[in-house]
Each structure stands twice: as structure tokens, then as C-alpha cells.
Amino acid sequence: MPKQPVNVVLNGKPITLEVEPRTTLLRALREVGVTSVKRGCEEGECGTCTVLLDGKLQKSCMVLAVEAEGRKVVTSEGLLGPDGELHPVQKAFIEEGAIQCGFCTPGMVLAVVDLLSRHPDPTDEQIKEGLSGNLCRCTGYASIIRAVHKAAAMLKERS
């Protein structure tokens, strides 16, 4: 199938993806080496391919790459500082033991960034609502909830 160019701003940098019309944003991103977006189900159920698309949470397996034309895509690598320093949400996940196999983590971290942008001081209920689209089979989520509270406190301190 013929390929066509799609221009996106990936983690702050403009980039051109060469894709078939049927190619999902997930596969297109992975094709250019952005492998933090994981293929857990490719049918919109698990959340491991979560990205921020124009600032909104999006499962990248559920949009075609061509739909991202002209839009901003942020993945978990894009949260790192210029010298590789971790985002407070990433730090909080490590400190609270909220990571096990790590396969859900990049998507989960982005879901937390999105959640905290809407609820800087979330209740447990808001956390559960905000992260309900991201599956984790390892941790039992308890440590993730602890990490979200910790990240909220860290972000508050920073601002």
C-alpha cells in the first residue's frame, strides 16, 4: 500500500511519519523508534500505548496516524528534562514501588500527568476514575495510588 507523509510535533520536535492509510498512530510511532508506546492489545483495552494528543489522553492504537496531522504528540520520553531528569510523576512511581514489569508504566505515567493537570490534589475516587483506562496486572494498583498522591505533593512543592 502506498505511503504518505504525516507531520506531527513529537515531544516538542517536528517530525514526518511515512505511513499507509491503515497505519495506527501506535505503529507509526514505534516505527520511528518511539517504543515507550507499548503494544498490549492494539484494540483500545489495555492503555499501554497511551499518549497525550494535543494535551489529551489518547490510546494511540485507536487513532490512525493520518489523523495526527499537524498535532502535538507527547510520550513518556517527552516528560524527561533536557538532561534526562525524571518528571516528578516518574520519580514518585519509583519511590513508591509503583512499577513492576514496567509495561504499563509509560502509559500509566501519562494518565497520571493528565489526571494531575485536571485535579492537582486528587481524591482516591478521582484517581480511580482518571486511571481506569490503564490496566496493570502486576502491582494491584495500591502503590500507584500512593505514587499519585506523592507526585501531587511533589508538583505542588515545585510550583
Binding site: M1, E20, R22, R30, G33, T35, S36, V37, K38, R39, G40, C41, E42, E43, E45, C46, T48, T75, S76, E77, L79, L80, G84, L86, Q90, K91, F93, I94, E95, G97, I99, Q100, C101, G102, F103, C104, T105, P106, V109, I127, K128, E129, L131, S132, N134, L135, C136, R137, C138, T139, G140, Y141, A142, S143, I144, I145
Partner: protein
């Protein structure tokens, strides 16, 4: 005197290895490796019938898809694989035996072309009658899933029954159960059933295989738990020497047993070893639907227990019949059947035990290793029936358990004496924390509240001689690399190993790194399974670290001309206080020391360690008896407080408390992680998980929409995890395994809590909303037992029991 000082040693709360890369998203899993344009992609076409002879397979349309280079069929790759019983071919040959079985492998230049090609493979079958019901398959030999069973190679401790559907029959014959029943005041006979369940790891199976066309050497990059077991199974199946196969395992995204042994690698090799293909790497990444359909599941089971109890409430005898639904292959699944069998006294001392534990072939996806390995199944039955028995004899279920507890020194069903443990203390704590015997009002108006308890036990299930070895390399910058072929699939073993090395070398954990397994660089380890790694590989890692320390101290002793015992390694600095010396570990560790004699001594410091369990003896095939059948048991208890909305059957967990005797928590952050994670996985299994099929054997639950696993919204309001530390005698630091144990008993604890809330005994897992609602309705009648067996129309517990007992 201890010669190391560290803040990060055994028992310290330290953060985990590789978490920075995981949080950033830069850690590369198998699917993230890049091989360039020479990479080919494979996709399987799969059987649409559950049992049938293959009449023809037409690949002509598939070959026309642009990019498709080859379609491989079963008769072009005739090799039989299996860990304990070689009953599996990667592609169907002549016959298909379940819906989803690979019938052809399409190889193409792109993944999309392979996917398109697979859809265009057309097969014709002469359908045969399939068999799905494990009890029928076990008791009726007119339909055989594997008529060729007799010809399959196997290990001596697996006992298939040719001419039947029994892939393994494990027996315990201890004492005289019939006499015990005669002497009993009470006889309790009950049954429980549970469907197959799926692992639900988030990373689907993925591997890349490549054959060197000049030498025939195979390289396999794969999402596997156990590189050496994968290599051995492939070598045996291909008739290859071990040295011609290299297996490399990048980090894996969850395993839970589902990536133990050999999974999809042989299917990929059918492509990579094809004469038209070899030389190019071939990648096989299977979809979520294929994971659900064609990789291992936890075996379904139907189990009955007859128990004889005296008038004081002492259990005198037990007779167990377990039918494990192993699906189409028992190559790995024959062993959990054995594991459940040799633990079939549960957490209780029972002098007379008769157990028949069967692996039963059916025309369904196949069973294998799953967190708990036969014990969630065993305890799913045992802890339900113990609870029933307590109520039948009018004794409090906690008291009944404590009265019959398998206290240290008492014999298990294999005749092995139980070692020291703190189970009684754990039970008392759980009972107290959850208020098991305290009646409380439901928190939600109109709901019904109940509490339940279930105990847990598990030994590492493995052959008698599963070995481990490790290398500890001290580098020229004072950091350490550990080569231990355990896979850290999230359980945190690398952090535990780093803490052990820190303890023995006095080097902080941030200077210690464990390297992911590669059969060509790492020394041998049997498998990453059985909650054995911190124990077995822990022995090897500790020995290796001690050897490295002794070498360092000996070198500095010679260098400084001081006695070795005056030297301490403190936070990575080597010190001799009496001589006023303090120097870092630096390039001298690599390049040698120029000693006072003017010559160089030393050279790169490497420590090595090996371990084999010294004293395990296989249980006798006829009686299951052995002086030491397993290395040790980890025991624990789960208490749960639930409430139910009678109008919908919805269940909420108010609180769960889970405690285990881990011997010693090497890495507390990971112990907590294992207990919390396994508890939720166990609750998820108990409340919502089951694989169901239509009448033709088609899977009705092939995705996370229909096969539900716990989301963050499904977790208990409060998870209390704790542990006790009764040291294990033969162990690196007194530690025992805990990775699997937390999954064992949440489900039966919920069942017992539901009985407490509703007065109805649900004999069928899971306790889905619909089933709980039915139980609520049943509580308005005189019925007390809810039994639903997927393979019969009429659901009636009394009738099922009558047919059975």
C-alpha cells in the same frame, strides 16, 4: 566479624533496579528491538474447528498478497516439543485439536502483509467429535484427544495413561483412609469447580529467531522467563546440541508463569529454519486474541474432597479427586497437577490421605504454569471445604483450622516433616485485623456484609535437582555486574540480588547492576518459576559475592601488608582502620595491584557461585511418599471483609489482610509489591475471571472486553500486607519464596465471606455479579448450594454430587 558495611543490604527498603528506564519508557522489551529491513514477520493461520482431520490447506491466495514470501505448513516442520511430556507440535500435523491451533505460518516482508496473508489461508477439515468436559474426558475413553499418548517422550515423574485422556496421574497413598472414615464421627463430601483463567500479562508473546545458514546456529530473542529451559526444550525438540542455540531474553512485560518453558518460539522457528528463509531474522508477535486463545492458561478444574472428622473436630482422613482440565497439551501443565497432589493436605495435619490428581486432555487451549502452580486450585477447593466442614460439625471455622493446623514437626501428606513457621500467629493477626468473628453492619445501606478466611501454602514445584549459578564481576570503576539468569519480570528479583551483593561486598546498590539473561554470557539457571529465585539463585549469588569479597580482601591484605580480618569494605571504600588505610575500589580491581614485592598480582575480580538442593527425593510414583519431597513451604493466610448489594449482586471488598511467613524479607519494597499485586490478582480471578467457550469450542472471551481483569476501580478499599520472618535453615538469608503465594487464597476467602454474608455456598468460581445475584435469590429458598458446571444443561449441586460420589 562482618567485614562489610552498607545501607542497602538485605532487609533494607531500597528502590528497584531498572525502574528509571521503565518510568522513562526507554527500557527495550523484545518487541522494541530493531533488526532493520532484513527482518521478516510471521503470522499464524489458525484452526476454526476444535477437533478434525486436515483434508487440505490452500495457501495460493495467501502467497498472492504482496510481501508474502512463504507459507510453512506442519508437515514441513515435524518436531515435537514439551518440558515434561512432549505432546506439542508448533503447527498442526494431519489433525487439529482445538480452535486456534496454528495450521500454517505466513512469512512476509511486513507485519501487515503477514496478517493479510494469514487471513487468506483456507483449510478444509473432516470434523471429529470434540470433548470439552474434563470429567467426561477423564472417565470416558471413547474419544481420545491424543491417541498417540504412549509414544510421547516424558520425564519419569510424569505418569500418563495411554488409551485414556489422562496426561498425568499423581497419587498419594498414606495410611488407611477407609478405616479413618469408619472411625469418624462426621463425613463431609463436597465439590468445587473453576474454569480456565488467563494470565493477563500486558506484554503479548514476542520472539525473533534467526538461523545462521553456514553453521546452523540459532539465535532466539524472546520474551521468556527461563532462557535455559527454553533452550533445552527447543534443543530436545529439534535434536540439536545445546551449544548451537543461543537464547537472549530482553526484559519481559509480566509473566506469571505464562512465559515459562517454551511458548511461541518453536512456531517462529518453523519460519526461521525454513530452507527458503534461513539467514534472515523472523519475528513473531502474537495479538492479544492469540495470547488468550493459544498460549497457556491456568487449568480449569473439578475437584471433590471427602473428609472424615472425629467428635473433637480432628480430621482423621481425606480423600481427594482432582480433575485438572489441561486442554490440548500437558507438556508443562502435567506438573501443577503433581504440585497440587503432593500438597493435598493443605495447611493441615491429616494422618490418612488418599489423593488422585489427574491432568485431563480436552479440545481446548492448553494449561500450563500460572502463579501458584496448582495451589490456587488446590486451596480453592480445600479452603472452601474446610469452611463447609467446620459449619457442618458446628465448630467455628477459625478454631477448626487451628485445631488441625500442620504445626512444625507434623508430617505432610508425602511423609515429610513440616519445618518451623509462624502460621498460627499469622492466622491470629489476620483474624484480628479483619475482625473475622466480629459481626458488623454493612457500610452501604441495604447491603449484606460477610467475612472470610482462607489459608495458603506452597512449596517450589520442581524436579529434585534444579540448579542455579551466578557470576559477580567487580569492574574497574568500583561497580558490580551480576550475571544471574533469573528473569526479573517485575517481581523485583534483581533488586533482591543487588541487595544481597551489597550485603556481602559493602558496595551501595546504585553501583550494582543485574544483567538480563543470555545463555551465551550467563551461567546456567534452571528456571525463573516456583518462587525459587531469591532462594536458589540467591544461594548462588551470595556464594559468588562472598568469593569476590574474599578475593578483594586478600588482595588489599597483601597490598597493605595487614591481616585480612582487619579489612572492612564500607560503602564501596576498602578500609583498614588499624593501619589508617582507606582506598576506593578502582582500576586496580581490573588491572591488578603492584604489590610490595614489585610484581603485579590479582587481575579482574570475579566471584562465582553454584547451588543444587542437596536432599530432595522424588515422591514415589505409586504412593507419593518421600522423606523430603520439596525444599520448603511458604505458608500464610488471607482474611477478607466484603459486602454485597442484594439487588445487583455487586460485591465490594472493604478490606483484605494477607500475611505470609517469608523467612526473611530480602527486599521489603518488593515483598510488599508481591503481596499487594498477587492479592489483587487473586481477587480479580475470584470475582470475574473465566474462559468460556461456545458449543463448538470457540473462545467467547478472547480480549480484555470479554475477559475482564481488575482495573483500578475494582480493588479493595484497603489492602493490608504483612509478613513474619521464621528463618529457613538452608537458605541464603533465611528467606523463602513469596512471589506466587499471595495469589493462592483470596478467591476461597471471598467464597467463605459470601457464605458468611448470604448463607449460600457457591461451589463454582468465579463469584461473578450474576452468580452472586443468583445466590441472593437462592437465599430466599431452601437451597443452600449454588453449583454451575459449564458443560451440562441442568445445574443442580445435589444431582452433580449424586452422579459423582
Amino acid at each position: 566479624m562482618k567485614q562489610t558495611i552498607t545501607n542497602d543490604g538485605v532487609g533494607k527498603w531500597v528502590t528497584r533496579q531498572y525502574d528509571v528506564e521503565k518510568a522513562a519508557g526507554t527500557l527495550q522489551y523484545t518487541d522494541d528491538l530493531r533488526f532493520g529491513p532484513e527482518l521478516l514477520h510471521a503470522k499464524a493461520a489458525r484452526s476454526t474447528v476444535a477437533h478434525g482431520e486436515i483434508v487440505s490447506i490452500d495457501v495460493s491466495e495467501a502467497m498472492k498478497v504482496p510481501g508474502v514470501v512463504k507459507v510453512v505448513l506442519g508437515d514441513q516442520f515435524v518436531h515435537r516439543f514439551g518440558l515434561y511430556l512432549r505432546d506439542r507440535t508448533p503447527l498442526a500435523i494431519g489433525k487439529v485439536r482445538y480452535v486456534g491451533e496454528p495450521i500454517a505460518l505466513v512469512i512476509a516482508e511486513t507485519e501487515e502483509a503477514a496478517e493479510e496473508g494469514a487471513l487468506k489461508v483456507k483449510a478444509k477439515y473432516k470434523e471429529l467429535t470434540p470433548i470439552f468436559d474434563p470429567v467426561k474426558a477423564a472417565t470416558d475413553n471413547s474419544l481420545l484427544v491424543h491417541p498417540e499418548l504412549e509414544s510421547y517422550e516424558r520425564v519419569p515423574f510424569i505418569v500418563p495413561q495411554p488409551g485414556t485422556n489422562l496426561a498425568n496421574w499423581f497419587r498419594i497413598r498414606r495410611g488407611d483412609v477407609e478405616k479413618a472414615f469408619d472411625e469418624s464421627e462426621y463425613i463431609v463430601e463436597e465439590a468445587v469447580n473453576c474454569p480456565q483463567i488467563a494470565h493477563g500479562f500486558l506484554e503479548p508473546h514476542c520472539c525473533i529467531c534467526k538461523e545462521d545458514p553456514a553453521t546452523g546456529f540459532l539465535t532466539i530473542w524472546t520474551a521468556a522467563q527461563s532462557v535455559f529451559a527454553t533452550r533445552e526444550i527447543i534443543a530436545a525438540g529439534l535434536g540439536y546440541p545445546l551449544n548451537k542455540i543461543r537464547v537472549i531474553a530482553p526484559p519481559i512485560g509480566g509473566g506469571f508463569g505464562g512465559k515459562a518453558g517454551m511458548t511461541v518460539e518453536a512456531l517462529c522457528l518453523a519460519g526461521a529454519m525454513d530452507p527458503d528463509i534461513k539467514g534472515r531474522p523472523v519475528k513473531l508477535h502474537i495479538s492479544r486474541e492469540e495470547v488468550m486463545l493459544t498460549s497457556w492458561v491456568r487449568q480449569g478444574y473439578v475437584a471433590k474432597i471427602k473428609m472424615g472428622i472425629d467428635k473433637e473436630g480432628k480430621i482423621l482422613g481425606i480423600k481427594n479427586t482432582f480433575y485438572f482440565d489441561t486442554g490440548v497439551s500437558a507438556e508443562y501443565g502435567a506438573n501443577p497437577v503433581r504440585s497440587a497432589g503432593y500438597t493435598s493436605m493443605g495447611c493441615y495435619y491429616i494422618p490418612n490421605v488418599w489423593t488422585d490428581s489427574y491432568a485431563v486432555y480436552t479440545n481446548k487451549p492448553f494449561g500450563g504454569a500460572y502463579r501458584g502452580f496448582g495451589l490456587p486450585e488446590l486451596m480453592g477447593v480445600m479452603e472452601t471445604i474446610i469452611d463447609i466442614a467446620a459449619h457442618k460439625i458446628g465448630m467455628d471455622p477459625v478454631e477448626f483450622r487451628l485445631k488441625n493446623l500442620l504445626e512444625p514437626g507434623l508430617k505432610t501428606c508425602t511423609g515429610m516433616p513440616m519445618h518451623n513457621h509462624a502460621l498460627r500467629k499469622i492466622i491470629e493477626k489476620v483474624v484480628d485485623k479483619v475482625g473475622i468473628n466480629k459481626e458488623e453492619e454493612a457500610r452501604r445501606p441495604g447491603w449484606k456484609r460477610g467475612k472470610g478466611l482462607a489459608l495458603a501454602i506452597k512449596a517450589p514445584a520442581k524436579p529434585a535437582n534444579p540448579t542455579s549459578s551466578a557470576i559477580v564481576k567487580v569492574l574497574g570503576d568500583g561497580t558490580v555486574e551480576v550475571l544471574a539468569a533469573t528473569m526479573d519480570m517485575g517481581q523485583g528479583t534483581y533488586t533482591s540480588f543487588a541487595q544481597m551483593v551489597s550485603e556481602e561486598l559493602g558496595i551501595p546498590v546504585n553501583k550494582i547492576r543485574c544483567i538480563y539473561p543470555d545463555t551465551s554470557s550467563h551461567p546456567y539457571d534452571w528456571q525463573t518459576v516456583a518462587s525459587r529465585s531469591c532462594w536458589s539463585m540467591g544461594m548462588a549469588v551470595k556464594r559468588a559475592a562472598v568469593e569476590a569479597r574474599e578475593k578483594i580482601i586478600s588482595l588489599f591484605s597483601q597490598y597493605w601488608q595487614v591481616p585480612p580480618e582487619s579489612i572492612v569494605i564500607e560503602h564501596g571504600i576498602v578500609k583498614c582502620r588499624s593501619a589508617g588505610k582507606a582506598e576506593p575500589l578502582d582500576e586496580r580491581i581490573q588491572n591488578g595491584f603492584k604489590m610490595p614485592d614489585g610484581y603485579y598480582h590479582g587481575g579482574p575480580v570475579i566471584g562465582t557461585g553454584s547451588f543444587v538442593p542437596p536432599d530432595v527425593i522424588y515422591p514415589d510414583n505409586e504412593t507419593g511418599q518421600s522423606p523430603k519431597s520439596v525444599v520448603h513451604f511458604t505458608v500464610g493466610a488471607v482474611g477478607i471483609d466484603v459486602e454485597v448489594d442484594p439487588s445487583t449482586g455487586r460485591l465490594e471488598v472493604n478490606r483484605v489482610s494477607a500475611g505470609y511467613d517469608v523467612g526473611k524479607a530480602i527486599s521489603p519494597m518488593n515483598v510488599r509489591g508481591q503481596i499487594e499485586g498477587g492479592t489483587v490478582q487473586g481477587i480479580s480471578a475470584g470475582l470475574m475471571e473465566g474462559m468460556y467457550y461456545d458449543e463448538k469450542g470457540g473462545l467467547l472471551t478472547p480480549d480484555f472486553t470479554d475477559y475482564k481483569i481488575a482495573t483500578i476501580k475494582d480493588i479493595p478499599e484497603e489492602i493490608d500486607s504483612f509478613w513474619e520472618e521464621t528463618p529457613e535453615e538452608l537458605s541464603p538469608y533465611g528467606n523463602r519464596g513469596v512471589g506466587e503465594h499471595s495469589m493462592i487464597s483470596p478467591a476461597p476467602a471471598i467464597g467463605n465471606a459470601l457464605f458468611n454474608a448470604l448463607g449460600i455456598r457457591i461451589h463454582t468460581y468465579p463469584f461473578s455479579r450474576e452468580r452472586v445475584y443468583k445466590a441472593v435469590q437462592m437465599s430466599k429458598t431452601s437451597e443452600e448450594d449454588l453449583w454451575e458446571y459449564p458443560y451440562v444443561q441442568e445445574q443442580n449441586y445435589k444431582k452433580a454430587k449424586k452422579e459423582w460420589f
